[in-house]
Amino acid sequence: MSRILRLDMARQQVRWEEVKAEYAGLGGRALTSRIVRQEVPPTCHPLSPANRLVVAPGLLTGTPAANTGRISVGGKSPLTGGIKESNAGGLLSQKLARLGIAAVVVEGAPIEQDGFFLVKISKEGVEFHPAEEYLGLGNYRTMSRLWKRFGRGVGVMSIGQAGEKRLAAASIHFADPHGRPGRAAGRGGLGALMGSKKLKAIVVDDRGAGPVALADPEKFKAAARKWAKYIIEHPVSGQALPTYGTAVLINIVNEAGALPTKNFRSGRFEFAEDISGERMVDLIKERGGKTKEGCHPGCLIQCSQSYHDAKGKYLTSGFEYETIWALGANTLIKHLDDIARLDRLCDDFGLDTIEMGVTLGVLMEGGAIPWGDGPAAIKMVKKVGANDPWGLIIGNGSVFTGQALGVDRVPAVKRQGLPAYDPRAEKGVGLTYATSPMGGDHTAGYGVATNLLKCGGAGDPLKKEGNIELSRNLQIATAAIDATGLCLFVAFPVLDNPDALQCIVDLINARYGGDLTTDGVMALGRQVLHDELSFNRDAGFTKAHDRLPEFFKENLKPHNVTWDFTDAEVDSVLEGL
């Protein structure tokens, strides 16, 4: 039977709690958003003791089913001021599930002179340790020291300097199977929330915990076998992602005229090939890196990698499409090694790479550094790790930086920097940017899959038709997938294979012994969005917050398209859920 672990940071005490009725049957994002909705005052300051940091494995996490090891991290976002769920890979989620922990809820805050803590969770119990010796360290050194102290292979979530300073673009990092911090709950500044709790790291050791209980092991085994087959047999999850990583998207999004270039000025980047997945893979092979790595044990997709520098030394991992676009095409930086160095710095300091890329674009817009200047960008990001006011400005993200510099061209919704698809040339994801309770976010309703990549049908990214329904349906389905602990890339086989969703339902039923249906899964997705939208409403969000910046009315080349949805059309996306 799973329990909820509450960490009282003010007294450094632990409380175990049975899962109460309101939280039963929920996991991942469904559970983090429900707990935040129920327990966090929507109008509280996100860095105040009233806010809570919630960490929850998914419904299927810890089982032997493939690609189920994701973690959801929730709270009131220090960046957007709304509810947030940020999703990551790494080792920690499966270990929590094996220890029978449905969620960890971090509450309150220590008084100033108590300093920072780290919390260790194992079968033997939960311990608070002083964390002074790790203060000021980046995630790379923090994780390697914690592995040395607590054993190789323990799960770690930690913050770097940005989280310690409670900067609104700070992320939380999760040790991958190599003990590296390439996996991040990046979006929404949850690293700042963790920093406000004076929590440097959580270490989870599941030794002696045994496997999670399965209500019907035979049925589970049969469904898990089918599930693995669906993932491996789909050409995207089985071939494209393992071969090139997510950066394989650079060329097609560029070709579609939707690759935001120079702070969302055009849809094509002259040097796209230099930052493409194809180029990245050539460099990795030349330099003795690794093109395929999983972000958690049991991953069949293996879209991560080890990227080495020109001397053959490890530089970064989890080098994603979004990261490469944000720090590359968006800033006109075309040298992949410069982009990789920026990614490494972000992982180390604990900064969201999308937010940092958008912020660097705003810095260039304001003339603080030249367009396309990789070394200047590196120097600037390094200031976040140093004692420098510039670091405090950019570490608070794109909107804050735009205000500091008097820049009016800031691509953000609900104060969160927009990701790697121009909403004018991929209108489906544009509607998700506008309406998702998460703020400007692509994963919450990835219209790109259907509109550009022809998965689950074939929409038109340039026309309005069909995109309202597309964004709505994907936002509901994604909220449900995020409750399961499944990697979102299973959406590619799920969108194309009508049997795959039923298979997920079979897995959940065989795990818990319930009688969930596919309709029930969609109802779960709607319920998650209900919790999130109602939290935001009570936090003061209105329809006016569901708008893209004015400058998206400008024509975008090469297709000469604009953001042409009426306000009423945008409002209809999540109406009457």
Binding site: A240, I252, G257, Y321, L453
Partner: protein, 79 residues
């Protein structure tokens, strides 16, 4: 202006010496289908699942004028 063809991901292996910075220039007569171009280049048609003509997705039967930018892709995804 001849047709400019850009190959991506695994499709590049079928054209030895393919230069991704230049692409391939090809003279085709108006009305030639994308399928015919795929055939001419020796690409396995089943592997070409995403066809972009001047940045818009089209089917293999799409008739070309002969002066477009043609991007060819195998199944890909990410995000």
């Amino acid at each position: 202006m001849p047709l400019q063809i850009l190959l991506n991901a695994t499709l590049r292996q079928y054209v030895p010496g393919y230069d991704p910075y230049q692409g391939i220039s090809l003279e085709v007569s108006p009305g030639t289908s994308v399928a015919a171009v795929i055939n001419k280049l020796g690409l396995p048609p089943k592997e070409v699942t995403l066809i972009m003509v001047d940045g818009r997705r089209q089917d293999a039967g799409f008739p070309l004028q002969g002066d477009e930018r043609l991007g060819l892709f195998p199944p890909i995804g990410g995000g």
